[in-house]
Symmetry: C2
């Protein structure tokens, strides 16, 4: 018999995500599978909704999780909010905002691009200018924490500008949710999506989303039907609302949901504000030790950085890829490479969720010292 | 602290799916998470591809798994194969084929419907007639095992008719894969999708798919770009091909993939032909015991039945919903209700994957006897 079960290495995941999953979360995944119509499972879905409202800081009932990864969430938000022909302003300074452009083009939207330098926060004045020049724009889309560059934009301010110009807002909070302040209602983010495997310290494959009342109204009044069935918010709302009377949509990945539920409970137990603080404090420690002990620096100016995902300049003469391979093979430690314009120029170091603690910082600094031969 | 971890009941899942997951599969889900770019994980993806080729009986390299449930697979196959304006013939005699119609309409395809009575296999002559009347049709779509009615169509014959009329074929093998013969290459099925939680005895949330060379050629020569980014086969092929050089697409749900890999290995160890035989034999036993001991009969005529998913007539005067509730609450046993036209008229009883064995038949018959008061 050739049966060879898969036994993954126990990696330390300090790249852009997945980050290491809390063992309590992993433990729930193997529990007995429930049918998606089981009353107990429907109760679980209701609890997940309520925990996500806490996590997103929203009162909107249109808050739930999509049964696919964050990039499905990106497509779902855009395909619901945008009709073919709609003018959409997209602020981009990285790989993931560029993906928004690709998706909107596939939907048939008319894209106006606000370009920012990779590694910098979006300059709000540039959005203001674009909206002054495009008074017929309907939607503004941007990324909070640009995973490809380590830059954090002030999306509260970007959202204010968008609303002043009567636009609705689509915001990517994939790398921010659970790790840094995300205030969906206060910041008037009309459609937001995230992922499960970063700040939430859960396994990958789920995309929490939330839609404002204005977004729901906008979607209900579309002239052209939503092109996607799987992502159609009207159908999804029937599935996620109405308690025991909910409408069948798809077969939910029940064991994945056990994990998300546990991860969200753990976050609530810690209290999300404490989680935000923990991420900031550990990040500050990591940045200062990177500088002092390894002479490594973030490419993003202070004040524009994602605290928990650092894009670090590869020093002159160092073989970027070899360092990553050595960290992985000799120290069982995964960090990320650069994407797009930054390929070969940076490493991406994540200190997220379960991994945001001093032990991980120590481990990372010590491994990196050995690999860079700085002992 | 209000933390209350979720502890699911240990249900016996004999509805239309999910079916019970093999404990060996459940066990893999809790293993350490790997990054989606880890060389070990990329090796796992290659093994999954190869195991899926075995399961689908295909040599096509465009065989992989989507990171979402079977209904995402349905949308993915259709959105790649169909351009706005294309004429598509859809054979429908149930809820899931009707969903195909909804999706194709959202894509902008022109739907020609071949209607069959719910609970019957698609009559091949009806497809022949429709294609004679619609010589400009490009794609024919049908469901192999219609989960909503228990009817099994002869898709080998339907596919022959479609190809004779120069159409490509999209086939839903959600409820058939792993449980009954599915011969993708031999039957010339150009785009097929399935799910993980039925015949494969894995958890829900993944959709195995396969595309023929003709399908790939067709998709490469589209005039209108694929409307979906997440489901764009060109991008997905970059992610699933090329070994260590693969292109980033989304963050794969690694722990889910561990489960699928294990489930596929178990199926290969048994040998798929043996799994097909097991499902047929156990189904025959269940049908004869339902008749003899409970006087219950399938609505689908013999010869057109899905062996492992029976739609059973609710006897006159019996409260359909109460029986399901009693089975669940008193015997921890889940069966399915009717959908659409058959709501209230049938029960759906699955004997799939890990559950296709005599012990489950005994348990079911005994519980049903008690609930129907036939002891």
């Amino acid at each position: 018999m050739s049966h060879k079960s898969f036994n993954p290495h126990h990696r330390i995941l300090m790249g852009p995500g997945p980050s290491n999953v809390n063992p309590k979360v992993l433990d729930t995944l193997s529990r007995a599978t429930l049918g998606h119509l089981d009353p107990q499972f429907i109760g679980l879905m209701d609890e997940i909704k309520s925990l996500l409202k806490y996590t997103f800081k929203t009162e909107s009932d249109a808050t739930f999780v999509l049964s696919g990864p964050g990039s499905l969430g990106m497509e779902a938000c855009l395909v619901n909010m945008i009709e073919p022909g709609d003018k959409v302003v997209i602020c981009t300074g990285g790989y993931f905002a560029n993906r928004m452009i690709q998706i909107v083009e596939k939907i048939g939207g008319q894209v106006v691009t606000v370009k920012e330098t990779w590694g910098r926060a979006i300059e709000p004045q540039k959005l203001e200018d674009a909206l002054n020049a495009n008074t017929d724009a309907k939607v503004v889309a941007f990324v909070h924490a640009e995973t490809s560059t380590g830059a954090l934009s002030n999306i509260k301010q970007l959202s204010e500008i968008a609303h002043k110009h009567n636009c609705l807002v689509v915001a990517d909070v994939v790398t921010s949710l659970g790790a840094i302040d995300v205030m969906v209602d206060e910041w008037k983010l009309d459609a937001v999506y995230s992922c499960s495997q970063k700040g939430l310290a859960c396994v990958a494959g789920m995309s929490p989303v939330s839609f404002s009342e204005q977004a729901l109204h906008h979607i209900k009044n579309r002239k052209i039907p939503i092109q996607s069935w799987f992502n159609d918010l009207n159908l999804l709302m029937g599935y996620w609302s109405g308690g025991q009377k909910r409408m069948y949509h798809h077969t939910a990945p029940s064991n994945q949901f056990y994990g998300l539920h546990e991860a969200l409970l753990i976050l609530k137990d810690e209290e999300i504000e404490n989680a935000w603080r923990r991420h900031k404090e550990n990040s500050a420690k990591l940045i200062s030790r990177l500088k002092e002990e390894l002479d490594l620096e973030p490419i993003v100016p202070s004040g524009e950085r994602i605290p928990h995902l650092l894009a670090i300049k590869v020093p002159y003469g160092v073989d970027e890829a070899k360092v990553r391979v050595d960290l992985l093979t000799k120290h069982n430690l995964e960090i990320g490479a650069g994407l797009g314009e930054l390929a070969g120029k940076i490493w991406r170091i994540g200190l997220m969720g379960y991994n945001s603690n001093e032990k991980m910082i120590d481990y990372f600094i010590s491994a990196m010292k050995k690999v860079l031969d700085k002992n």
